[in-house]
Symmetry: C2
Subunit: 237 residues, 2 copies
C-alpha cells in the first residue's frame, strides 16, 4: 500500500477492450494502488477494471460506493467522509473519463464545495480523440450529449447545431446509443446541408477504430452502415 | 525501428514540466519509435520532447516539417507525402493534444480529405481535465478559446457566455494568456452574477496544480491572485 496525497482522484478507464497501457499512463496505476475507497457506477465493472490493473489486488480490503442517477446528495456526502480523515478516494468511470457525461460530476461538485483537493488523471475521451482526428475546429467546439429521440425534435436539434456551425464556426459534437447509430446517421444525411462536413467516429481506441470525415454529399454516396458500437458524431463547415 | 501501421498519428505532449509517464500512456512511446517524419510547430521543442521519450534517439535520422499559422496548404500537402509511400507521419503538439487549439488541425483536415488513416493518441488536455475536476456539467459544454481583449467586447463576451450557462445549462470554458490571468479574473468577478459558479484551474498536471470552484460571490471575498502560469476558466450555474 503506497501513501499518496489525500484527494479525490478522478480515474479514467478504457473505452472497450483496449490494453490498459495503450490508453492510461503508468502513473494512474500507481495512484490506484494507494486508494482503498472507490466511488463507482457499477461495482462489477469497477472490480474487473481493478483486477486488470493488478491481478494480485485484494478486492476485499477495498470499499465501494455506488453512484448513479438515483443516488441522493446526502448519500454522496457520506462517500466523501474518508477525505475528512485524510484518506484518498477514487471515482472510477464506466467508460472513458469520470464526470464527463457520467454521474461522477455530482460527487466532484460536492467535493469542491467541501474544499477537498481534486486530482483528475489522464485517460481516453472519445470526445477529445474524435475531435483531434476529425480535422475540425479545435479552438471552438461544443459537446451536446444525446440528441432528442422524437423525430421532429431531433430534426430541429440537427438544424440548430448546423446553424451554430455556420454562424459561430463552432464544431458540434454529439453521441448516440449504439443501436440507434444508423437511425441517427440517416437523419443527419437527410437533414444536413450537402456542403456540411460530418465526421463519424466508431470504436475509438479499439481494434476496429474508424474516424472518417466527409461532406454530407459524399456520405450520401457512401451510404454508411454503422455497426452497433459506441459512436460519436461531429459536424463542421 | 519498429514497424507500425502507416497512418497520421496525433501525438500529445506534457503540459509543462511533468514526467512523461504521469500523463502519457506507454503505448505512445512505442508508436513514436516507429515514426521518422514529424510535423511540428517548433522543431526545438519537438526535439527536446523526443529526447525525453528516448535519450538514445538519433534525431538526425528524423525529418521535421514546420507547421504554424503561416504555413500554406500546398506545403502542408507535401508534409503528408510519406503517407503515400506507406510511411507513418506524426504530428507533435507544443503542449497538450494536437489539433485542439493548435495549428495541427489543418494537417488533419487535409489528411482526412486524402483518405489517410488518422490515429489520435491519448494525452493530457487542460480543457478536459479541468472540466472533470470542476464539478460542472460534463454532458453539455463548450470550449471558446480566448475571449476578446478589448474591454467592451470582453464584457459582452462574458455576459453572453453566462447567458448560455443559464439558458442552456452548458458549461462554458475559455483560456487566457498567462500575463493577462489577473486581468481576466478581475473582469469575470466584476461582470458575472454573484450566484454564478467559476472554476479557475492553473498549472494542470504540474507540481502546483490548482483547480478550484467557488461562487463568484465567494471569489470576490477570496480575491484570487493568479500566478503567470497557464490557466483555464470555466463557468456554470
Amino acid at each position: 500500500m503506497e501513501t499518496i496525497e489525500p484527494a479525490l482522484y478522478l480515474i479514467p478507464v478504457t473505452l472497450g477492450e483496449t490494453p490498459l497501457q495503450q490508453v492510461l499512463p503508468e502513473y494512474n496505476l500507481e495512484i490506484i494502488h494507494g486508494i482503498r475507497h472507490f466511488i463507482v457506477e457499477e461495482i462489477r465493472t469497477a472490480r474487473r477494471f481493478l483486477k486488470q490493473v493488478d491481478k494480485a489486488i485484494d478486492i476485499d480490503t477495498l470499499t465501494f460506493y455506488t453512484l448513479n442517477e438515483h443516488t441522493d446528495s446526502k448519500e454522496i456526502e457520506s462517500y466523501l467522509l474518508p477525505l475528512a480523515n485524510k484518506e484518498p478516494v477514487g471515482i472510477i468511470s464506466e467508460a472513458g473519463c469520470p464526470a464527463i457525461a457520467d454521474p461522477g460530476a455530482d460527487a466532484v461538485c460536492l467535493a469542491q464545495a467541501k474544499g477537498y483537493r481534486i486530482i483528475p488523471l489522464v485517460g481516453p475521451s472519445s470526445i477529445l480523440l474524435s475531435l483531434m482526428a476529425s480535422g475540425f475546429n479545435g479552438q471552438s467546439f461544443a459537446f451536446n450529449g444525446y440528441l432528442p429521440i422524437e423525430e421532429n425534435k431531433r430534426i430541429s436539434a440537427i438544424k440548430e447545431l448546423e446553424q451554430k456551425v455556420y454562424n459561430c464556426g463552432q464544431t458540434q459534437i454529439f453521441i448516440e446509443a449504439p443501436y440507434r447509430n444508423n437511425n441517427l446517421t440517416a437523419s443527419l444525411l437527410k437533414n444536413l446541408r450537402p456542403g456540411t462536413k460530418l465526421c463519424i467516429a466508431t470504436d475509438i481506441t479499439c481494434q476496429d477504430q474508424s474516424i472518417k470525415t466527409h461532406y454530407v454529399s459524399e456520405w450520401r454516396q457512401i451510404k454508411p452502415e454503422l455497426p452497433k458500437v459506441p459512436a460519436i458524431f461531429l459536424i463542421y463547415r
